[in-house]
Amino acid sequence: MISSKHLLLLATLILLAMISFLLSLLSGSVDLSLGQLLRELCQPQNDLAGQVLREIRIPRALAAFTTGGLLALAGVIMQVLLRNPLADPYILGISGGAAVGALSAILLGLGGWWMSNAAFAGALLSVVLVFGIANKFGRWSVTRLLLTGVVISAGWGAVINVLLTTSSSNNVQSMLFWLMGDLSQSRVGFGHLTVLLAGVLGGLYLSRSLNVLVRGELVAASLGVNIKAMRLLLYLSASLLTATAVTIAGSVGFVGLVIPHMLRLLGARDHRLLLPCSILLGGTFLVIADALARTIIAPQQLPVGVVTAIIGVPSFLVILRGSIKK
């Protein structure tokens, strides 16, 4: 059910997203006033501020927003697929596979392009592995998929540790940044945005079925939902969204787990609303987190994944408390 209260939530999130962009564009080592920023956005100048804006800040804010949106969307889908409140985009081992790919690229001294593609390949390998094994032995069940994912995840964890302990300290630094999620090298391209757009449009198209599926597979089947097709579709789309996100920014934690829950607690349980809201809030959240990551201990930068946890934990607890009071 969608009420005017829900539309207000959507409008508020859109406004928040725009504010977060402005804040992000204003923060950094080169000072920029709001007036200057608006002038630059309307009429691009070829001065230092303009260059910093176009070449550094805008692409980075865009990368942050896209990553946050992808992760939050993937989180919603995983939670529906597994019907488990603890499900997040990484629970089935996608980030582990991606990490092994990315870390191997770092170990071999390969550049950014290689890192992204190795991460993507690692993620896909993990997706195929988990789904293949979960389907291999007899009847499909959510528990089987979840357990397979968790076990494969643990396996990747071991490989990651091997890579970390055997690498030079130079490499370990970049590896740790990747593992915690880092946007300093991130750029989004047409492909990333297409995945995000396809994800939300496809999700909206299926949103009514998602509403039913959340209540359990038997109920959904009895109400006319094609369970087998939905399982496969949800698994593959959540995987693609997550793989795309980790390709952009490494494994940024927390966004995919907490943003969907925050929105549900705020009353956005209907997927027609929850999906677009997740992208907006997930994106906004990461844009702000990244702005903070760049400025808190400037000129040094924190990995954005650290900041998402620092601001995510208390704000989630506040909302949780509010919802219990009600």
Partner: protein
């Protein structure tokens, strides 16, 4: 034409033969009871009737059309089922849950049809849930949750109601209330009902026909008076069951 027709249906779950060569025709306005001891396969039979469990052999026809040839959504618009185990515990309000019953009928992707909202509200009223409409389902009692599940089924407005222990968790007054409500709904929409239950006396009172599963693939089906005899019941439940006549009705009790 029969709403539901089973032609020499055989069904097996694990090591249990639920039924072999079961033939039956369930017509509009008929009320059928499905009885049998624990593990005899009542739930499996109900699930098979909407294609959730594969059958061994035989065919299931819904209004003359083979089950496997009916598109999912069309089937869900015509046949509704009440599951024995309730709905999941992820947060949702009572109204949101009941409105899901309209899923098979929904036309618009993004818009909620006022007609659907009205049907859901009426269903809430039928089950005396109107005051709880905005409550979270996970804050409700067992009986209230059962009523939410029943309201969802009523909102689905099926031609054929399949119900797995509908009086689970309901107090005595509400059990009677529910039977009255179902009676009214069946008459309103020329629909039919098949309910699995452990309450022999309730089935005797409410159902005109009975399928009694013996637990080994054998069964007895037909008009209630013919099927519900001490002899049949004792055999089906592995327990001596006696009967007593009072107030013009026959009551059954374990001896």
């Amino acid at each position: 034409m029969a709403i539901l027709e089973l032609n020499s249906l055989s069904l097996r779950i694990g090591a249990t033969q639920v039924c072999s060569d079961l033939n039956m025709r369930l017509q509009e306005n008929q009320r059928w009871g499905l009885l049998g001891k624990n593990g005899a396969g009542k739930t499996t039979l109900l699930h098979a009737l909407i294609g959730l469990v594969p059958v061994q052999s035989g065919e299931i026809l819904i209004r003359g059309i083979k089950l496997e040839n009916i598109p999912r959504q069309e089937l869900a618009a015509g046949v509704g089922i009440l599951f024995q185990h309730g709905i999941s515990e992820l947060p949702a309000t009572v109204m949101e849950t009941v409105l899901l019953g309209r899923h098979p009928h929904v036309q618009s992707l993004l818009r909620d049809d006022p007609g659907d909202l009205k049907i859901a509200r009426d269903a809430l009223q039928d089950l005396k849930l109107s005051e709880l409409a905005d409550r979270q389902v996970d804050t409700l009692s067992g009986g209230e949750r059962q009523r939410v599940a029943l309201a969802m089924l009523i909102a689905q407005t099926p031609d054929l109601f399949l119900m797995d222990e509908p009086n689970n968790h309901l107090d005595l007054a509400f059990q009677v209330e529910l039977l009255r409500l179902l009676d009214r709904k069946l008459k309103q929409h020329a629909s039919a009902l098949l309910m699995a239950t452990h309450d022999i006396n309730l089935a005797a009172r409410f159902c005109e026909y009975i399928i009694l599963l013996m637990g080994d693939g054998e069964f007895v089906n037909g008009p209630t008076e013919a099927v519900l005899t001490s002899e049949n019941l004792s055999k089906a439940f592995d327990c001596e069951i006696g009967s007593i006549v009072g107030q013009g009705r026959t009551f059954f009790y374990p001896q």
